[in-house]
């Protein structure tokens, strides 16, 4: 077998199965978001589909899933405020692909570590967007945290970052654990059809 270049690798990730999986993954993000809303737990868990694509179809497919998930959510008119965070979602998908490639989805403690790192990175990139576009608030319950951080004298950007750091790592760790459990529950025959099945075997 000849060595694959990066471009060949990306092309081989985008099979018809991958193209079909991306809208399903975005719909999973949205439908799980609805379940979380019904349960009233203080989490988002709106990247389960994105992380799943990253792990099973590579970093670029994961990044595309995250990017389009937020743009569609925004352009549908139903959750407009998600659109400016499309870049954050893309990075979450990209990271999932890289952690998958590194084999981190095979061991439970590496799964947790991947979740924590993703949460920290997501908090770092969303803080400037939140501070500049939304004045540092989220319009949701997590704003109680923003109020506390502003109250102890943090600036708008640091308060927004501190809010992210106190909620994102837990959220992304649970996301990764759910993805890990799902991948382990899928039959091997089925997993083998995905371009990056070797990431989780």
């Amino acid at each position: 077998m000849t060595r694959m270049t990066q471009a060949d690798r990306i092309r081989s990730d985008f099979t018809t199965l991958t193209w079909v999986m991306i809208p399903v993954a975005i719909a999973i993000n949205i439908a799980v978001g609805q379940l979380i809303y019904a349960l009233k737990v203080p989490l988002y868990l709106d990247s389960i589909g994105t992380v799943l694509v990253g792990v099973l179809a590579g970093p670029w497919a994961g990044a595309l899933t995250g990017l389009l998930a937020n743009l569609i959510w925004g352009l549908s008119g139903l959750n407009v405020t998600y659109a400016p965070f499309a870049a954050v979602a893309a990075v979450i998908g990209l990271l999932a692909g890289l952690f998958g490639e590194a084999g981190w989805l095979r061991t439970w403690w590496k799964v947790i570590l991947a979740g924590i790192i993703t949460g920290l990175v997501a908090a770092t990139i969303s803080a400037p967007i939140s501070a500049y576009v939304f004045g540092g608030v989220t319009g949701a319950g997590t704003d109680a945290l923003v109020a506390i951080f502003r109250g102890i004298g943090l600036g708008i950007l640091p308060a927004s970052f501190a809010q992210g750091v106190s909620s994102d790592p837990l959220d992304k760790t649970i996301t990764y654990l759910v993805v890990w459990l799902i991948v382990r529950a899928l039959p091997g025959r089925f997993l083998d059809r995905f371009p990056r099945a070797e990431n989780v075997r």
Binding site: V20, I30, A31, Q34, L39, L52, S76, R150, G151, V178
Partner: protein, 261 residues
Amino acid sequence: MSSYAAFSLYVARESGLHRLHPLTKLALTGFCLFASLVLPGAWATYAAFGVILLPLAAWGQVLPLLLRAAWRTVLPFALSLFLIQGFFWTGGTPVLALGPLSLKREGVLFAIQSTGRILLIVSSFLLLSLSTRPDALMIALSQRGVPTGIAYIILATIQIVPRFQAKAATILDAQRSRGLETEGHLRQRFRALLPLIKPLVLGSIVDIEERAIALEARAFSRRGPKTSLLVLVDSPAQAAVRWLLLLAALALLAARLFRAI
């Protein structure tokens, strides 16, 4: 396409705004997004909202819908902004004291400015989604060279999300009827997460293969041009408007930079 069956706010109307080429409306949304980020001062974004978006929404016969959706989205942000940035502004000039807290002038101005920015962004997205069929927008984008795979993802998502939402509601009901506790203490609700999420995700991943076979049978991965049943109408005047919007955005940026120097 009715608005409730698809994951989209689109409402069919016989209006000039609806008949505009999707790219013209997309260019307007892009312009408003850009303007909201570079317009200086606290009030300019409200002026842009009143002068550009409100008349267009009225022309498109979607003004009440736009106002209602914008109100619902912007209000929580506005409340948070006034409460948090107004009362917890570091330093600043107090204008109103409430017990140990005081409302700061700078914080209120910042809240007004941020709310205006959010209002302009949200309303411009809403105007686009209320007046543009998602499939027409996708065809317009693929005609300009956006890969058809991207258009497929967006359209397929819009179609399957309502089905997934219905599936999520069914799973919630089914698990509750089997005795799953979805209310009560936080720990109990956390324990309900996995029994709800797992069937939803596993069930949907398993259909992926069937969907892929269905697409392959319809020449999805074939290269070359494809024919569409939906014909889009463009005009030189609209192309001119799109260029003008781009120039106006550049002019705003230049004005902002010039002022900064």
